[in-house]
Symmetry: C2
Subunit: 466 residues, 2 copies
């Protein structure tokens, strides 16, 4: 089970609510979601259950498809309610089919370098789960980190080699306590991965968080199958308290256990941890994309395309995206959220949305906004089709630059090849489709007095948006 509901604000401006960090290739060429799903592939694993925000449903489906993960079930949350309701939903769903099924719960956005060590720890955790335990993965701390919760390991669990009971959970400690923890050897980082049977999880949720179970059970009852998705009942789910599984269950249950593991784990929780996990040059710099460093050390400099030059910097983070730049000392990396909050309060769309906007059929991005015009690049995946629509305030010119388009314009249908164009006068009813085997790319030039996204009347839609 993959929890993919995070918003990853601390990796702004790369990660934003509209396209958060689990959907980005942060460490390898695969996205964090793909990496996570890949850890549970093969004959020993069932297809994953992914819980995500409704807004990300096509992203999750498309990334799993691209990574050849078949048969996934995607549970859609109408809004984020932290981890306990999400886990409850998956556990209730699976208990109904197979109460003894062992669930491996993972966050979609962690980096783990040593997969064999992970799988060895998983085997130990599964053995403990089968005797009724809820097992967390405890990471051997390498630095006195004050940003993580810690687990104090207790007595060995009988019948499960290498698994210990949880003596207690410790909230984010101060610096001195953290140093003692690293020196003492009994404290472990809480990684947010869990293993338990569906029956155990539901039983402990019912015991310690009955209001969560009640709301989520109602949301599952009211769930609607929608293409490949299970859409949780919105009203019922909204009634669930927003609470983490740690608070709701782990800190209260007597079934908590921990499997200590040394697997090269990072939660990639900030740009500082991105620097931690990356390969560095002789000056301790990480450079990604078109960047040029002069006389700098200890820096993390990442550009998604715009040339980024730094001179004489030390221990500084510089992130350049198409529409936003972030600069800060590495040791202030946690404070990105202050900036994002301020941008959000100021109504800056860059706080939450990227320039490229994903839709069920593909994506589009604004190239320029001018006086009474704007230009977009639109990409439609093979076989996909936009809604049948019209606009009251704008006319559009479409120029096909890659692939083939079928364009319906009022009563006519046109086939457009590369380097052909069509004009859509204000008020005409139109629809765009990619009938081909390769992506369709077109340039849209809009003219009109009002060019907001909300000037659209959807008459019919394949994706249920009409």
């Amino acid at each position: 089970m993959i929890l993919s509901g995070g918003t990853g604000t601390r990796l702004w401006p790369l990660s934003r609510e509209g396209y958060p960090k689990q959907f980005w290739p942060l460490v390898t060429a695969r996205t964090m979601l793909q990496e996570t799903a890949g850890r549970a592939s093969g004959p020993d694993f069932a297809a994953p259950v992914v819980v995500c925000n409704e807004a990300h449903r096509f992203l999750v489906a498309e990334q799993l498809r691209a990574a050849q993960v078949d048969g996934a079930r995607i549970l859609l949350e109408p809004l984020g309610r932290n981890s306990a309701p999400a886990i409850a939903a998956a556990a209730l769903l699976l208990r109904a089919q197979s109460p003894d099924a062992v669930l491996w719960i993972m966050a979609a956005d962690a980096s783990i370098k040593d997969t064999p060590a992970l799988h060895a720890a998983l085997d130990r955790a599964v053995a403990a789960a089968k005797v009724g335990r809820i097992v967390t993965f405890g990471m051997k701390p390498t630095t006195p980190e004050t940003g993580y919760g810690y687990i104090e390991a207790g007595a060995d669990v009988p019948g499960a080699a290498g698994v210990q009971a949880v003596a207690r959970f410790v909230e984010k400690p101060d610096a001195r306590a953290a140093e003692d923890f690293v020196a003492g050897g009994r404290h472990l980082w809480n990684s947010g991965m869990f293993v338990a049977t569906a029956a155990t999880l539901v039983a402990e949720l019912e015991r310690h968080a009955p209001d969560v179970v009640r709301a989520v059970a109602a949301a599952l009852e009211g769930a609607q199958g929608d293409l490949d998705f299970v859409r949780l009942g919105a009203e019922a789910f909204r009634a669930a308290p927003s609470i983490s599984i740690d608070y709701a269950v782990m800190e209260k249950t007597d079934r908590a256990a921990v499997v200590p593991a040394d697997i090269g784990w990072s939660d990639l929780g900030s740009w500082a941890s991105m620097w931690d996990v990356a390969a560095k040059d002789a000056g301790g710099n990480v450079a990604h994309g078109p960047v040029e460093l002069v006389d700098s050390s200890g820096c993390y400099v990442r550009s998604e395309g715009i040339l980024t030059g730094v001179v004489g910097l030390k221990d500084t983070v510089v992130i350049t995206t198409e529409d936003a730049v972030l600069v800060m000392p590495r040791d202030r990396a946690q404070d990105v959220k202050l900036l994002v909050e301020r941008l959000r309060a100021a109504g800056r769309k860059e706080a939450t949305e990227h320039r490229r906007i994903y839709r069920p059929w593909g994506h589009y991005e604004g190239l320029i906004q001018g006086d009474r015009f704007q230009v977009k690049k639109i990409s439609v995946r093979p076989g996909q089709k936009l809604s049948l629509q019209k606009h009251f305030h704008r006319a559009e010119h479409w120029v096909v630059v890659n692939g083939t388009a079928i364009v319906q314009r009022d009563a006519e249908t046109h086939l457009l090849r590369e380097n052909e164009s069509i004009y859509l006068p204000l008020g005409c009813v139109h629809r765009l489709e990619n009938p081909g085997m390769i992506p369709l790319t077109l340039i849209e030039v809009q003219s009109g007095a009002y060019l907001g996204e909300d000037d659209i009347v959807r008459i019919e839609d394949t994706y249920g948006r009409a």
Copy 2:
């Protein structure tokens, strides 16, 4: 006389060879060239002579026109040869017409806050020029600056109140010498402004730098009038040594004098001096454009459009342009040139060119480059006309989004209004014209296997480029 030949590399990425700092509005809403020309406007001044690189001729003309500076003569250098040849060209040109004419020589890229004080110093300088002196403006130093040359003032010049002989010129001093200079009160910053008659300048150039005069005189003899420009003979001008007026004349002549002045001068020679001259917030920050500062102090943060956020920074410069970002400590501002040299060596076009490219008829900018296509925004000034041209490798779609266009396509002529488009197939002979009273803006979508700027055959051109 305005020297506008600089490349302003130390204000990269805003200032680049293709569009250097004198053409940017750095301090006020007017560009530095317009500010400079504005200091010499009114009944006391003749129209300016501007010396600039040939590549900037339309920029200079357009900015002067926009600032309502009439009658300017624009001398075009085929390549930069430092200040002595540029000054020699203007002095020779003016001596031929009026040997007693007093020249006021100014760099096009300095900031001067106190214009009345400047004009008072100018009056004193003119009096000294009329008795045969070459007068520099000496700025009272406010900080022990090691980046400037200094002038040691000597005895008073008879017959010119407030003007002193130059005792000696001092190259950029070390920190201790600079502190002594500030404390002593006899040393002044060399501002690079001069006042002298044409006859005096030519006489002293002939005495101390005869090879400069010989080359420049030949270049003037071979000069061609070209629209509003005087194009210096390329081969002759190239033979002039590349040398500053300080080295060539001022350090050798016995006519050198200095008028001390306190006028709020800055050469805007680096991002650190841009911070110096700007108004600051309570934390000592300068913020320009869409920027957001959290818990930062002493920073200069400037964006030309892309949202730029900084957290916890001290004394740092962050510059964001459409296609390049620069970050450095303020006290490393001189070292931008190391970065630009490295980018140039790596063949990065951002080292020298902006995304917006200026042409005699207006400008264009690339919006996106894709696989076998690219999109540009083209702006044509009223009454202007591109060359009659054709391409062998690309077809073009033009969509008019503002204004009116006349498009010639082979034998046809079309009038295009806002929201109308035209297709230009590969190989057709075409021409674009703005017949209207407002700027014409169009979106050009190019399709083809090769999309380089050099795929153009110019059949006829208003600006002599065919």
